[in-house]
Symmetry: C2
Subunit: 242 residues, 2 copies
């Protein structure tokens, strides 16, 4: 796990891959089979997924859901990013995004935002964001690393967030062990491991949350593959909690 | 991340800490501030948390919940380990254990079990298991590493398991950033990071599931603290999904 500090404050249109490549060069350079984990907020900023609350007119539903302490304009943005509100305990909203992610506030976040009156949305297509970063890093460095676009998600039943993979390129997201046998020779049933989520969580340990380190390299794992962040979303038909 | 392969098949009463210390010595030895992650099944086996299904008389409720494909004796063991069944789609059961963990089958698992007719239960007190391993490793090596007893849990809304921390000793389980400020100077609200879960997930990446590597060393993280696995269980009053 190699943190990549020293990235500047990001603006829409910045060449994030170039900034990551420079930070990686300072850390000794990318190597074949490296995985680059990038915080969703960094990706969203360069993709312009930033909303000024002054431009948002809250609906009556947003007013109601904001409760006494929430900002109705912030809630309005959450509603626009949501396919469904899964649970509401104002001002806490657990929502399913249009991508199918279930998370607090539909991923709309004020922390690390660009000023007190802005919020940051999730990328429109995190897998495409990851693929574009991978392609551009290959152009710049001659190495096409695995890429994960990560975010901090809460979990049902457990305290605290862990970082998970929203978008993935060049690696396996879900390792499927069904049909393989364990060390005792028993067939493993229904065992799928969310390796991309575990990698994202591992990278969080060196990226921190308040230290301005929006990316890290994970080295030495054999995870090459053609996975996607969508692999990690539980299909509705199998979901017992929606 | 340093995997610790080469542990023998474990039996009740085995000195697991001694076997881990030997495996660590083969890998260059423990260092100060190391964290040792140990798979729950290894801990449960040496603690004798193994049940022979031939000795189990299923209740009528177990018969009903087993459906057409489950083993009613296995379901009976799950019911005994459960404080509450959270969801049932036979033969899949999501249960809250007596510890408060919400997971598939109340953590009762047949894979890697000692023979086709046995199942393995979670440790009675995973924090105590972790503390005992830490104490014994200190006796044997002069180093008291952080210890995590880990298990693979499914998640609501997301596919695949990630390893999480059931029991913890000598490290922080939940890093509380409330009241701190992010890189832009904004106060972070309600941000708690489940670092012990992220560490357990990271260790899974080198432990694998079917390769007989029940432990790993995580080195180079500053995570010393007095956390517990219980810190990671969402209090019922704050839980929107029970």
């Amino acid at each position: 796990m190699i943190p990549l500090p020293g990235l500047p404050e990001l603006e829409e249109g910045d060449d994030l891959a170039a900034l990551i490549a420079e930070a990686a060069a300072r850390a000794g350079g990318l190597e074949a089979d490296d995985i680059v984990v990038v915080a969703q907020k960094a990706v969203s900023k360069v993709e312009g997924r930033v909303v000024r609350l002054a431009d948002v007119e809250p609906s009556t539903r947003a007013d109601a859901l904001a409760g006494d302490t929430g900002d109705p304009r912030h809630v309005e943005v959450i509603l626009r990013e949501s396919a469904e509100i899964v649970r509401a305990r104002p001002p806490l909203l657990i929502a399913e995004t249009h991508h199918g992610f279930v998370c607090a506030s539909a991923g709309v976040d004020a922390s690390n935002a660009k000023g007190p009156d802005t919020v940051i949305l999730l990328p429109v297509d995190p897998d495409a964001s990851a693929a574009a970063l991978r392609h551009r890093l290959d152009e710049l460095t001659g190495i096409a690393p695995g890429v994960i676009v990560s975010d901090s998600f809460g979990r049902a039943w457990r305290q605290g967030t862990t970082d998970v993979a929203l978008g993935v390129a060049g690696i396996t997201a879900l390792r499927d062990l069904r049909g393989t046998r364990d060390a005792s020779g028993h067939e493993l049933r229904s065992t799928m491991i969310a390796v991309a989520d575990e990698i994202a969580g591992a990278a969080e340990l060196v990226m921190g949350k308040s230290e301005g380190v929006p990316a890290a390299i994970v080295r030495g794992l054999d995870a090459a593959g053609a996975g996607s962040g969508a692999d990690l979303v539980m299909p509705r038909a199998r979901d017992l909690f929606r």
